[in-house]
Symmetry: C4
Subunit: 225 residues, 4 copies
Amino acid sequence: MQRLVNEFIGTFFLVFTICVAAVYGKAGDYAPIAIGTVLVAVVYAGGHISKAHYNPAVSLAFLIRGCYISAKEMFSFMGVQFLGAVVAALLAASFFKGDMEVSAAEISIAPALVGEFLFTFLLVWVIMNVATAKAITGNQFYGIAIGFTVIAAIYSVGDISLAVLNPAVAAALTMVGKLSPGQIWIPIAGSISGAVAAVVIFNTAHPSEECSTSDDSTCRPIDEE
Amino acid sequence: MQRLVNEFIGTFFLVFTICVAAVYGKAGDYAPIAIGTVLVAVVYAGGHISKAHYNPAVSLAFLIRGCYISAKEMFSFMGVQFLGAVVAALLAASFFKGDMEVSAAEISIAPALVGEFLFTFLLVWVIMNVATAKAITGNQFYGIAIGFTVIAAIYSVGDISLAVLNPAVAAALTMVGKLSPGQIWIPIAGSISGAVAAVVIFNTAHPSEECSTSDDSTCRPIDEE
Amino acid sequence: MQRLVNEFIGTFFLVFTICVAAVYGKAGDYAPIAIGTVLVAVVYAGGHISKAHYNPAVSLAFLIRGCYISAKEMFSFMGVQFLGAVVAALLAASFFKGDMEVSAAEISIAPALVGEFLFTFLLVWVIMNVATAKAITGNQFYGIAIGFTVIAAIYSVGDISLAVLNPAVAAALTMVGKLSPGQIWIPIAGSISGAVAAVVIFNTAHPSEECSTSDDSTCRPIDEE
Amino acid sequence: MQRLVNEFIGTFFLVFTICVAAVYGKAGDYAPIAIGTVLVAVVYAGGHISKAHYNPAVSLAFLIRGCYISAKEMFSFMGVQFLGAVVAALLAASFFKGDMEVSAAEISIAPALVGEFLFTFLLVWVIMNVATAKAITGNQFYGIAIGFTVIAAIYSVGDISLAVLNPAVAAALTMVGKLSPGQIWIPIAGSISGAVAAVVIFNTAHPSEECSTSDDSTCRPIDEE
């Protein structure tokens, strides 16, 4: 239960910052810094509780990784992540939109798919290493590595694909009008395929990192409720 | 005594940087970076001495957390924090105001209360985790997590509520004219309610983290004088 | 083999970010931050796998350092680094160039050589210390130290020499037209001479750090395939 | 000897970045970030070698601290720091000045003295804690804490006093014309008085941190030559 509370809080603040700082433009050109720093903060605050996914594509990657999460837990995680994102978008829209007109971003499909795929690949490649590789178990740089990946992603492909990298964020951006309903499949397809590709390559290239929920319960940081 | 000296120094430099970099505009759009980096610095410099509260709302949260500070100490901490903030504001106004006219920010009550509540909630949620959770005792990322939270907060709601998050900072901002006397209740109410909500949820969701001053003296990093 | 996979991935994302954020200008003035943060991320993601060179000049420095890599491995590393850089440049040009005209930077030879030499010297001096010095073995700040060096380099000499610091990046920048074929020798000469100078001074000034592949196999983090 | 080599290299790159990024304006508004990130890098690269002073005011503070350095060593350190600063200023002026006219900053004495005093106080307060306090011996955040202090300082009082904080930097800035010979006493007086005040308060407030070169040789990280 505390894992789900943490996933809600982390996803909520990530999406709330995205909506207020980037969509409603309060942070201007500094929005990537606002989003990256809040992600560093919530990853460090909650990594020890729930592994700090805050992203359905990341939860799927942890499932494919072979331990840390069961399929049933993954769906609970995803549900809470979408809930946190929806609540954050509603709250941001209610109090911080003002009289701003939000129009859907202009997105070219091919570059946007490539951008979402590549940077979600990188995000999950980074997470699989800093959060699950045995050689660096117990490291304390995971929050910086993850948050800095997102800063780089937004500065690189933010203008091209919004650098969504996260299906829950995609849902929130559609709610607030920054993505049109016809565009939402782009970040969802790009982020999920990028996440799956990264974890499959990770598992394939690093056979010594193999683990599975059934036979290696020790790699689960926190017991299920 | 050394805890109080440290709280004075930390709060002084936090507020001094806020006044010079943000209120008197020396840092322009980079003020959130100046404030966040100075907070990282004073948290790392003084975390081992006084837990680096530098904020009456945080001291209250530590009291509710159940250990680390007694009610009597909390009031001493708060007194010193306000003293540091007042001295910093006076010094900044005396030497760095120049001929600048400072006028109170235009603040809409509802969004400002929401902004102050939410980001103080996040700040205290982060602090309770990185500074008191047993699973990550001894971590070294607490300063980055705390300082980065404030960077994200200022870039997100700085234009809406000034992102005060701290009653001592609210007092200083009122002294230098950035908040009017009629506005000071907004950040105070928002920050205290956000801090209380965060620590209550933390205590409720994490029963295994329970501790209290009376029965668990080991969680007190430094003895009282 | 997994070392080579990691060198490919790390160099790919470093060069891809350079092309999209800096050459195609998506990040504007923030390109150095995008490049520095992605470097922090890939160094933390892959340091435990391949020592995270991502740079032929760094691989040469590790060879001169006397352990960590053999001459044969070094050439494999370099080949994969150039491959990753080329693929990244092709992908970036295919999907993110749009209708932008890229013209070669105006570069004055002497300042550019000095800039490339000095900041590659610093980069390799930092790497030799944070990644190989015995007194700080096991430190976790190596990614920040390395990435921040590159942020400082680009903000300092980016206008003068492009702050390439890396022969594989030089090749990619030539492919996308930011360096002319007549200019490519400048960053290559500057970065290799800077790297060699740094590691020679490191080895000379720190005799207690001596190690060699043949007699000290323990300093090799990962066995050869 | 290797300590002196490291002090030369660290001070050289700090001053070189200051001259190129800030004085010659290559980094524009990002100069504080360039300077702060290079300082993080050289502190992490050389902290284990020489404690990474790179600043005569800091070396004086370490002497007053009571261990880590003898008076004779301090003067060697200072000599090498000034040498590194002078060489960096000469090199920067020779290759990166172009046809730029550098004129001395307009500085009001009282605010500049206060700014230099306060932020050097903070810098030395941070250093004494993160680099010498027994409770956090072996921490790895010292580089971030020190570098971030300087970022905050430059964004806060850079326009007022240049945020020099360092007599060797003051000498270099005078050489390149950013300080007039009649102004150099301001940062020197401010930085030395701030450093002395910080270490005296540190020693007084923390009697348990007492140490001295004569009776506690264990606190010396590296033997003298």
